[in-house]
Symmetry: C2
Subunit: 381 residues, 2 copies
């Protein structure tokens, strides 16, 4: 999952461009989501930073770079000093915010769940480090990916160490929910790995050999699982019973899938100045993202045109030219891929709200989680 977002004015904002603390709330984000995210960063980033400082020096350097706290040469990155509340480094903290907000929604004290929130963020970043190596992605959060700066081995090892750090954080947490949270987080890692495996396998297959169900299952494992786990961990830390924990997991999963669908739309039609990627980068790389696969499955003339564009890129352009990507984008739209993705995102959001209502029937208690879920899916690219 990439980390981009938008406001309702229709412009994509990449991570780091929104929610500066003290700044005005942007239209469409809503004051509640903005406040929750800023407060989650204030609570969790110092814990995260402290944990990363305990890594062995060689790997600490890679981790500090990856989180955006240091430049490649080890000098502090702009805004990293004392900016625990800023989104300018280390991301928006959506997952930690889900942990803390879920804990509160189920009657727990968010302050007690800070380690769990940091552990989830460490796992997220461990998978980003490894996925970037496997996918040969060269840009993340507007900066060169860690493997391009430090090499594959250091990126792999730092990812390994971040997973270990996440688990140590929970193993050392005296909270009674910590062991169950640790087991759930470990199970989630296995699902994330299976999701990334499926993603790599799907990318190797031809555009007509991939079904929408396979792609949705992959997206659920790769993106939904960790958002679900974040919500579930909050519930575990609130002492919720297993049914409620599972409902919260379902809420996060469905919202995560909505998130992914919108992210895929942004990957095609997002503003490159905001996403940090070239226009239509996903199409130029012939990525089988969800709107594309839906378009291919539509049986329309535009689907046939898209299949041909995906099968046979213009000669001499290994990853496709901008013109090629633009033609593909128009074909996806004509084949209904964009409309389907938006409608399906809305559908997933309503399923998410349904799951949440089971565990948290009081709308006031559920408000924070709803605000976060809407924050990630209200984005209009």
């Amino acid at each position: 999952m990439t980390d981009t977002t938008t406001d309702t004015a229709g412009t994509v904002h990449a991570e780091g461009h929104i929610l500066e603390p003290g700044g005005p709330d942007r239209a469409g984000e809503g004051p509640e989501a903005a406040g929750i995210l800023a407060s989650a960063r204030r609570l969790v980033h110092p814990e995260l930073r402290r944990a990363i400082e305990t890594l062995p020096g060689s790997l600490r350097r890679v981790a500090l770079y990856h989180f955006g706290w240091e430049h490649a040469d080890g000098t502090p990155a702009a805004g990293s000093a004392g900016s625990a509340g800023s989104a300018g480094s280390a991301g928006k903290a959506i997952r930690p915010a889900l942990v803390l907000t879920a804990a509160r929604a189920l009657g727990g004290d968010p302050a007690e769940a800070v380690r769990a929130a940091a552990a989830v963020e460490l796992v997220h970043n461990f998978t980003l480090l490894h996925d970037d190596v496997m996918d040969r992605d060269t840009t993340r959060r507007h900066r060169p990916t860690a493997w391009t700066v430090f090499g594959d081995a250091d990126a792999i090892l730092t990812g390994d160490a971040l997973q270990a750090l996440a688990q140590r954080m929970l193993a050392e947490d005296p909270h009674p929910g910590a062991p169950a949270a640790a087991a759930r987080l470990a199970t989630c890692v296995m699902e994330l790995c299976a999701g990334q495996h499926a993603d790599c396998a799907l990318e190797r297959r031809g555009p007509d050999e991939v079904t929408l169900d396979e792609c949705l299952a992959m997206a659920e494992a790769k993106t939904g699982a960790l958002l679900g786990c974040a919500c579930a961990l909050g519930a575990v830390y609130a002492g919720a019973d297993l049914d409620d924990v599972d409902s919260l997991d379902g809420f996060g999963r469905e919202a995560g899938l909505a998130f992914q669908l919108i992210d895929d739309v942004i990957g095609i039609w997002g503003d490159p100045r905001r996403t940090g990627k070239p226009a239509g980068a996903d199409l130029a790389a012939r990525k089988k993202s969800l709107p594309v696969v839906a378009a291919l499955a539509s049986g329309t003339p535009a689907a046939a045109e898209l299949a041909e564009l995906y099968d046979r890129p213009p000669p001499g352009a290994a990853a496709g030219t901008p013109e090629h990507a633009e033609r593909a984008a128009r074909a996806v739209e004509r084949a209904g891929g964009r409309d389907w993705a938006q409608a399906h995102a809305a559908d997933r959001m309503s399923r998410a709200i349904g799951q949440l209502a089971v565990a948290v029937p009081d709308p006031e208690a559920a408000g924070g989680l709803l605000a976060l879920a809407e924050f990630v899916t209200r984005r209009t690219y």
Copy 2:
């Protein structure tokens, strides 16, 4: 650390060629070590196998191949069915044996520490999978490495999943020592990663730019740390106090360094029919193993010859020819590298025994751990 062993007749035995249950004890292994290892395998391999069966299908296949339980096509490997006590698959189980034997030495019940023993073995194998990718090693335990069969991505993802599985096993263990064991194992993973980082970094430097102290520190992190952690986890599960846990860690670390020194000697002078690698493979690859670095640091004429051989391989042979490796082996020997490694291994063993005596003064209680430590260092290649 590779997995080879020898008997006192002077022949290297690769893993899987010794300690068949019910078979005669080979001279030099000692009945006690053989019995401890076979019994550890009987206890731990079924637990390990059960855990691996819970992995998502795509990664389970890679794990079953890596452990030697299945062929690349998914068919069962010879001797894998019901062979929980056999060393023919999944390795000798030295680390699990150390966990169980340490638990017993400190008055605990080894049967209660089986999950911890399996978790240590999972971590060991996660690092093997990743190290093979980074080092581009093509052979392990006489078989093609996982990345050569399934690709880099699947080897990385399966390693990630095995780390998660190890931590879940401890998180789900109701034993009161489990959280402390989980935290210790996670810290050990970070040290293993730092050791592998140092190994990669040292290999990139010239032969005259590497000190023996750096190489010893790297070997302690890369090999000693996990053997130390295995012993420490056994002590934790026996309810030992922190001083005794730390002494057991020190015992395993020192024995691990002795193990590595002997392994490095085998990497140069071992019998290729037993090691599964070509004769002098480490030298042909110009690996800066401990005997080599000791030889280079000796200030002898043979050291200068060796430095030249390492600096300038014969033309046309990127990784060195067998003749080149043979000349290098003779130079290491003349420069005293072989003698130093053997003497230093003996020194580390006596430090190990000293650490053990602090926590377990009763020689009878310490007997099993001593037998295991001697098993790995009595090897005469």
